[in-house]
């Protein structure tokens, strides 16, 4: 078995216990996404759940009419959000078109994603579930204050997510 936290059975069990894969749209997670995008002046925000091989969208703002709104997920190899599962820290890409890791990503090449800032959603049991992230279509830097704002909102998202726990300790 892999030592990579992406593939940790306990983390994937935590995601299941928190009922994060149900198809229902949680209005509070939607609101967190909307507030994030609005505050930072960016078109898209996601509350993402990072699985072993894919990203699942648990809350979103700004993707109506895009293919991601229909699929509610995409393979992890296209994801910016997986990095925080490994690092447990915020992750910023100021210009994905110039970023060696992401320049060939279809989300960059075909959907026009340029800037990204994501902060990890960490459960009370210490597992990184996914990210609260904002995405823009033009290069952009992010201030420490903006990352702190996202981190505070991520805490609200986690508090909401913890209410979904279907298995008690």
């Amino acid at each position: 078995m892999s030592e990579n936290p992406l593939y940790a059975e306990a983390r994937l069990q935590e995601i299941a216990d928190l009922d994060l894969l149900s198809g229902d749209i949680d209005p509070i997670l939607q609101r967190v996404a909307e507030e994030s995008a609005t505050h930072l002046g960016l078109p898209v925000s996601l509350v993402s759940v990072v699985l072993d091989d894919a990203l699942h969208v648990a809350g979103s703002h700004g993707i109506t009419g895009l293919w991601l709104d229909e699929t509610k997920g995409h393979p992890l190899e296209w994801s910016f959000c997986a990095t925080s599962v490994r690092t447990r820290a915020p992750y910023v890409v100021e210009n994905a078109a110039d970023d060696t890791t992401h320049a060939a990503n279809p989300l960059v090449m075909n959907d026009g994603v340029r800037c990204y800032a994501g902060v990890p959603l960490i459960s009370s049991r210490g597992f990184v579930l996914g990210n609260l992230c904002v995405v823009g279509m033009a290069p952009r830097s992010f201030t420490e204050a903006e990352l702190r704002y996202l981190t505070d909102l991520a805490s609200q998202a986690v508090a909401r997510i913890e209410q979904r726990r279907v298995v008690t300790p």
Partner: protein, 88 residues
């Protein structure tokens, strides 16, 4: 685009994903159980539709297995999504 692995997923890919999380023997057991439930034979799950049927059976096992199964669903959908995003 080859860096983004656009090849159709295979039974081997799906089983490897389970093994990465659960280890070899538990993964084989979960896969065999899901194949039985989907009325398919392990080692002979050939099409994306059949993989989807096994993934649905895996999802019904619950817990971390369901998380891996959901992940598979998005990976199986990858080619279809990509060809809409990127017309050939």
């Amino acid at each position: 685009m080859s860096a983004h692995h656009l090849a159709e997923p295979s039974e081997g890919d799906a089983l490897a994903a389970l093994q990465r999380v659960f280890g070899a023997m538990p993964a084989q057991e979960k896969w065999a159980q899901a194949c039985r439930e989907a009325r398919l034979v392990p080692g002979h799950v050939g099409t994306t539709a059949q993989l989807g049927q096994v993934a649905a059976a895996l999802a019904r096992q619950g817990g971390a297995t369901a998380s891996v199964a959901r992940s598979s669903k998005y990976v199986f959908a990858r080619s279809a999504v990509m060809w809409r995003v990127l017309p050939p």
